[in-house]
């Protein structure tokens, strides 16, 4: 019981925020993702998305690259190794916390 509580309390708060979890989940599926795609698929507004990205970048979980597509500026994002590790650890912690309380298959679906 005590171990369960400690495990739950040690969950990475940067990853635990739902919007950031979505961002990391998308980035983990690809090598590099453009801001526009993330905006569409996450359903977040530009401002919200930028704020969450800044937090993830600050934690060292992603890198932001600015470039020009023709004459238009564009932004692409790439998950770092630390970001992948954090996401993996978060999923394991969440799985352990939910084990026995929910159908584990529902957790695996998101893995």
């Amino acid at each position: 019981m005590r171990a369960d509580v400690e495990n739950f309390l040690s969950i990475d708060r940067v990853v635990h925020e739902p919007a950031r979890l979505v961002i990391l989940t998308v980035l983990a599926e690809a090598e590099e993702v453009e801001f526009r795609f993330l905006e569409r698929v996450s359903g977040l507004t530009k401002g919200n998305l930028s704020s969450h990205l800044a937090k993830l970048e600050g934690a060292g979980y992603l890198v932001v690259k600015k470039f020009f597509r023709g004459k238009l500026p564009a932004t692409s994002l790439k998950i770092t190794r630390a970001g992948r590790r954090a996401l993996k650890k978060y999923r394991q912690q969440l799985y352990r916390a939910l084990r026995g309380k929910r159908n584990p298959r529902s957790v695996q679906m998101a893995n």
Binding site: E17, P18, A19, L21, V22, T25, V26, E29, A30, E31, E32, V33, E34, F35, R36, F37, E39, R40, V41, S42, G43, L44, N48, S51, H52, K55, A74, S76, S106, V107, M109, A110
Partner: protein
């Protein structure tokens, strides 16, 4: 300090799985421009193979047009990728290991064959030198040397390799004109390779057109799903 960006945004595990699936599928279209790119390539292979089959005596204009077919395909594919299939921006996805290994083996084999043919052309040229042959052979050798790079860089999807090699080989023969010149021995050898590749290329082209059409339908469904997510938000 409160988290100003927090909002009632609670994706379910099922929704997360859905987002992962959308990203993976979109990434594949963003990377390879399959779908209409396959249909375009398959169509060009059929057209070229049909003209060879009929042994139509091609004029300079037709030779140039047919010779430009692989480049038109590559340009068309790139345009589709950047302006149509990447409608929500680029998503770069790593290729599967077996795909990369297969591409490396095929491209390596193509490079070796082309280097051998190019070497033989240069050897023959040194033995039987004339400025007309030099002009003709420069185009021929340049195309041979560029072919592995073009295939490696632009025709990486599994179906595209054989069709790409066929179209580029045909283009090399048509643009350099070697079968019609005194260095025709080289051209005829190469032309026979074109004839050998014709049937398998046509078969792959048929599969490619069908697969491309199905994939395009899947893309339209994917686009609807992504747009629906944005509108629902």
């Amino acid at each position: 300090m409160s988290d100003a960006v927090s909002e009632p945004f609670q994706p379910s595990l099922q929704e997360l799985a859905e987002i992962k699936k959308l990203t993976r599928e979109y990434g594949e279209f963003s990377r390879d421009a399959v779908g209409l790119g396959h249909v375009l390539g398959g169509g060009l292979v059929f057209l070229s193979a049909y003209l060879i089959q009929r042994q139509i005596d091609l004029g300079v204009g037709a030779r140039l047009l047919l010779g430009a077919a692989p480049f038109a395909w590559i340009l068309g594919k790139e345009w589709l990728r950047q302006h149509y299939y990447q409608f929500s921006g680029m998503v770069a996805q790593p290729r599967r290991r077996w795909e990369s290994a297969l591409l490396l083996i095929f491209t390596g084999a193509l490079a070796l064959v082309n280097l051998a043919v190019a070497g033989w052309v240069v050897y023959r040229l040194l033995q039987d030198f004339s400025w007309w042959l030099v002009l003709s052979s420069v185009v021929y050798v340049a195309m041979l040397l560029a072919m592995p790079f073009l295939v490696w860089r632009y025709l990486r999807a599994p179906y595209e390799f054989l069709c790409g090699a066929f179209l580029l080989t045909l283009s090399t023969v048509l643009l350099s004109g070697t079968p019609l010149t005194p260095s025709g021995r080289v051209g005829i050898v190469y032309l026979s390779v074109v004839y050998l590749l014709r049937l398998p290329a046509m078969l792959v082209a048929l599969v490619m057109v069908l697969v491309g059409f199905v994939e395009h339908m899947e893309f339209l469904k994917l686009r609807r799903e992504i747009r629906a997510r944005k509108e629902a938000a």
